[in-house]
Symmetry: C2
Subunit: 147 residues, 2 copies
DNA sequence: AAAGTTAGTCAGAGGCTCTGACTAAAGACA
DNA sequence: TGTCTTTAGTCAGAGCCTCTGACTAACTTT
């Protein structure tokens, strides 16, 4: 599906995304956080400071709540997240980052920062800022979850 | 894994990528090409004009050759690709786009173009060009397959 | 000619995601 | 209040995807 000018933007977006994911994974695995999968991480990544309901995580990750539940079960068993009752709704529970998860987060953030720094060294400050701006703008258009 | 300035670049790249993929899928499904999966498409997408060996497709898609073989089997059964002997190596076969696949390609390209046009309308010509330039530069750094 | 490498397949296991059906709690409303 | 509808989440089952390990056949190197 080429465009008139090189690869299509979809694939062009995917390639660095994949590179980032691989790097963050490798960094976490090297630090002993090797007992989770990419699919679990994609859910984990969406958990906000106050916790989220399963349905929210499912919608944001664009998977069914059954799939999200399956992944959260595993994250919970591995100690990355915990489920606590939602005080405002007895049907729901909030999924929160648990102790082991909280230890992984700064390592992941550091790995992200490292990759971003590499990219900035390559592109320069201005173009990196521009990239972030453009992607943020695109997000507002393509992601119903943009704040 | 937030950065100091909004979402991390990984997620920011992923969101529009996903949007593009979803749109292309929907367009193909609407035209009757609904008998293939995202995983199959990610392999199909890498097939070049002269065909490719299974191992090449596997490496580019970053999956094992067993997985690639599994997906190509299905694409072949559905008529999207065909395997022909590689004249230069009797062990290998070239995977080429077959008749049904060839009919899908222009539809996919049109869907990509439509989404890119939407994005251009949003961002403007200059910023779209800039985005493509930056991503192409990033690709050279993150993708061993960059030509 | 022998040894090592490469292309691809077979077999088996486990992980991911889906659809459909279900329970329980919440919200709407007469 | 009591009923109806919606929403949060789970259970069950099926199919798809991906991996590791082991293997065959053909090519390359020595």
């Amino acid at each position: 599906m080429p465009s008139d000018n090189g690869l299509n933007l979809g694939l062009l977006l995917f390639i660095p995304y994949r590179a980032m994911e691989t790097r963050v994974f490798a960094a976490l695995a090297a630090a002993g956080f090797d007992d989770f999968t990419p699919a679990q991480a994609r859910v984990f990544q969406r958990i906000g400071p106050g916790g989220n309901r399963l349905t929210e995580l499912a919608e944001q990750a664009q998977i069914t709540k059954q799939s999200a539940g399956f992944l959260v079960d595993q994250l919970e068993r591995a100690g990355y997240v915990e489920r606590v009752p939602d005080p405002t709704d007895a049907r729901a529970r909030l999924i929160r980052i648990a102790e082991r998860g909280a230890r992984a987060v700064p390592l992941a953030a550091a790995a992200v920062a490292e990759v971003e720094a590499e990219w900035t060294a390559l592109l320069g400050d201005d173009r990196t800022d521009t990239l972030r701006d453009i992607l943020t703008e695109l997000r507002a258009h393509t992601d119903p979850w943009a704040e």
